[in-house]
């Protein structure tokens, strides 16, 4: 599936498009299909997100959203070397699949 991510303009926090707004949690990301470009242009113009882009992702058996590329997996969770600073997430298995 195709999901959208970017950083919050004010805080810089990593955000994910949840269908109506931008969430801090990758699990909230929704498949945008063909609408990616339109949503990206609109949201960036409205300054609700900074430098957003579309990425490939999949949903695992437990229903967690997993970005395809390692870079976005690190963004989804936080630095692998500072797990104490990780984004709080329901996905306890996150660190098993990030790398």
């Amino acid at each position: 599936m195709k999901i959208l991510t970017g950083n919050d303009l004010r805080s810089g926090a990593v955000t994910w498009w949840n269908g109506s707004g931008w969430s801090l949690f990758v699990d909230d990301a929704v498949d945008v299909g063909e609408e990616a470009e339109e949503i990206l242009a609109r949201e960036e113009a409205a300054r609700r997100v900074n430098v957003p882009y579309a990425i490939e992702a999949s949903i695992d058996a437990a229903g967690h959203v997993r970005p395809a590329h390692i870079k976005d997996r690190v963004r989804a969770l936080g630095p692998t070397v500072r797990r104490d600073l990780a984004v709080p997430t329901a996905d306890k298995t996150g660190w098993d699949w990030v790398i």
Binding site: N7, L9, R10, G12, K71, P79
Partner: protein, 543 residues
């Protein structure tokens, strides 16, 4: 050390307000991200993987306790309690909010600090020898010349939109502790027949096309120093490539023109600029230099009690000869085995600040190796200093050993990275510390970059590691034989890359080859240069 006068303070304050206004215009939508990006970069603000990152300059690596305490406060107030010291004498905060950035810059300005031109296609923070003003082997203290350049390069009206970033290092000894010839311009202050002048190198750099800067002028009279630098920059600004950002650094211009032609053009521009008159008044250098007068060193014991072996090891490893024989410079390792190279917590910064105030004439340095330094410690105080460092987790006796790894933030933090660097550094330092091989191997500079931009200086490592993306997984290329020092050389790739476990095993194998082949007194680099790549290749890839 240098102190701002009302002019310097007003400049920094004006910059804070300028940036506050720029951020406001960005948030109001008057600036697009494309327009805002160069402006925020020129104030050190990047957008990284997890947040904005702020890079604060520590000009020529010198700071005092008040400034270090402010860095600690910023880490706690605006970030997550720590900072990361870089190879170019900056500190980076990883979790910054755009809406806080102007306030942080304002806080920094209260202690004569800033983030001016720590990024962007402009002249970056001027770096220098971390032992400046303390080293026994320097001709003069290079920092006044670096400060003169700091002022000249700050808000330079002509050189704010260069083809690409521009890094300058200034040293003043034969020994090179600042990777001077791997800079866009490297300056060595020299003395000839009693006259001070500047030797200029241009067109060095790492990145995807590493080059060692050739000498472009053996002696620039010191009262023409800024004029010559201006000529170098003008030729670059006019003729550096702008069609391809990967070929835009001055090293490509010097390489494509040939050093001789670049020199000819610079000399022509230099002669012209001498006639225009852009040099600061002579008295300015003297005014700046007065700020760098020696502190009041006093005689004292020149030997110490070595009965504690841990202390003795630290003294042997982490102290450096001082120009006054009752003092040493003491390296504060930010490389605990298994730790993140260059990271320091706010608490550690405060410990270091207090030690500087109590034992080093209130002076600290940031080293290009991502460590900190107390430049002037009386030998009589050394045990007290070591005890305090050790208690704070800052006493690792590993300067210039394989544990003293330079590593970029890599894919854990950086949006440019292809692979992680930090976990490799952690695992390698831990492994060598556990097996006790660190001491056996001795001096070995290991440098790790998480992408081709080479922020981890892998080209200049005795052993270098470059992380690449191989079909979506991390892969690491090993290289051998680099040096950033006065014996500067570029490392050569051993062969096919490795996965994470594989590259750690490979590092052990090449140290095995070294230990088996070395002769008395040879460092890893010396052995490599004597026996060449083949024995190492054989060990890595042979049957």
């Amino acid at each position: 050390m240098y102190r701002y006068d009302s002019y310097d303070q007003a400049m920094v304050d004006a910059r804070v307000e300028e940036f506050r206004d720029q951020a406001r215009r960005r948030l109001e939508g008057k600036l697009t991200e494309d327009q805002f990006k160069p402006l925020r970069l020129m104030n050190g603000l990047y957008l990284q993987l997890h947040a904005y990152m702020l890079r604060v300059a520590i000009p020529y690596g010198t700071l005092d306790s008040r400034q270090m305490l402010m860095l600690a406060d910023i880490a706690e107030k605006y970030d997550r309690g720590y900072g990361h010291f870089t190879t170019r004498q900056n500190i980076q905060y990883n979790w910054i909010k755009l809406e806080d950035a102007a306030d942080i810059l304002a806080d920094l300005a209260t202690v004569e600090m800033h983030a001016i031109q720590t990024s962007g296609n402009c002249i970056r923070n001027i770096s220098s020898d971390h032992f400046a003003g303390a080293a026994a082997d320097e001709v003069v203290d290079p920092r006044p010349y670096a400060e003169l350049m700091r002022q000249w390069s700050s808000f330079h009206p002509e050189f704010t939109y260069l083809p690409r970033k521009f890094k300058i290092a200034v040293i003043a000894s034969e020994k090179d502790r600042a990777a001077m010839r791997l800079h866009d311009i490297g300056v060595r202050i020299v003395k000839r027949d009693g006259e001070i002048g500047a030797q200029f190198y241009a067109g060095g750099g790492m990145g995807r096309t590493p080059m060692i800067a050739p000498l472009i002028r053996d002696f620039v009279p010191i009262d023409q120093f800024i004029t010559y630098a201006e000529a170098c920059l003008r030729v670059y600004n006019r003729y550096g490539r702008r069609d391809n950002k990967y070929k835009a650094r001055i090293k490509i211009l010097v390489h494509e023109l040939g050093a001789a032609e670049y020199i000819r053009q610079v000399e022509e521009e230099f002669a012209h600029l001498l006639s225009v008159g852009v040099e600061p008044p002579r008295e300015e250098l003297a005014r700046i230099a007065a700020h760098f007068a020696d502190p009041a060193f006093v005689d004292g014991p020149k030997t110490l009690d070595r009965s504690d072996p841990d202390f003795a090891l630290w003294v042997d490893r982490n102290t450096h000869r001082h120009k006054h024989d009752a003092y040493v410079s003491a390296v504060i390792s930010l490389k605990p085995a298994g730790g993140i190279p260059g990271d320091a917590t706010a608490e550690q910064m405060r410990v270091v600040a207090k030690l500087a105030k109590d034992y080093s004439f209130d002076e600290l340095r940031v080293m290009h190796t991502q460590n900190l330094l107390l430049p002037h410690v009386a030998i009589r105080d050394l045990h007290a200093v070591w005890s305090a460092l050790d208690a704070a987790g800052l006493g690792a006796p590993n300067m210039d050993t394989i544990e003293d790894i330079i590593a970029c933030p890599g894919l854990d933090y950086c949006s440019l990275a292809n692979a992680r660097s930090i976990p490799l550094a952690q695992r390698i330092s831990e492994r060598f510390a556990e097996t006790g091989r660190t001491e056996v191997v001795g001096e070995l500079k290991l440098k790790i970059s998480g992408c081709i931009n080479a922020c981890g200086h892998h080209h200049a490592g005795h052993i270098g590691i470059l992380g690449v993306d191989k079909k979506g997984t991390e892969n690491y290329q090993l290289s051998l034989g680099g040096s950033e020092a006065e014996d500067v050389s570029l490392a050569k790739i051993t062969g096919p890359g490795f996965d994470e476990d594989g590259v750690i095993a490979a590092v052990e194998k090449v140290t095995d080859v070294y230990l088996a082949a070395r002769t008395e007194g040879e460092r890893f680099l010396d052995t490599y240069r004597r026996i060449g790549m083949e024995p190492f290749k054989e060990a890595l890839y042979g049957q």
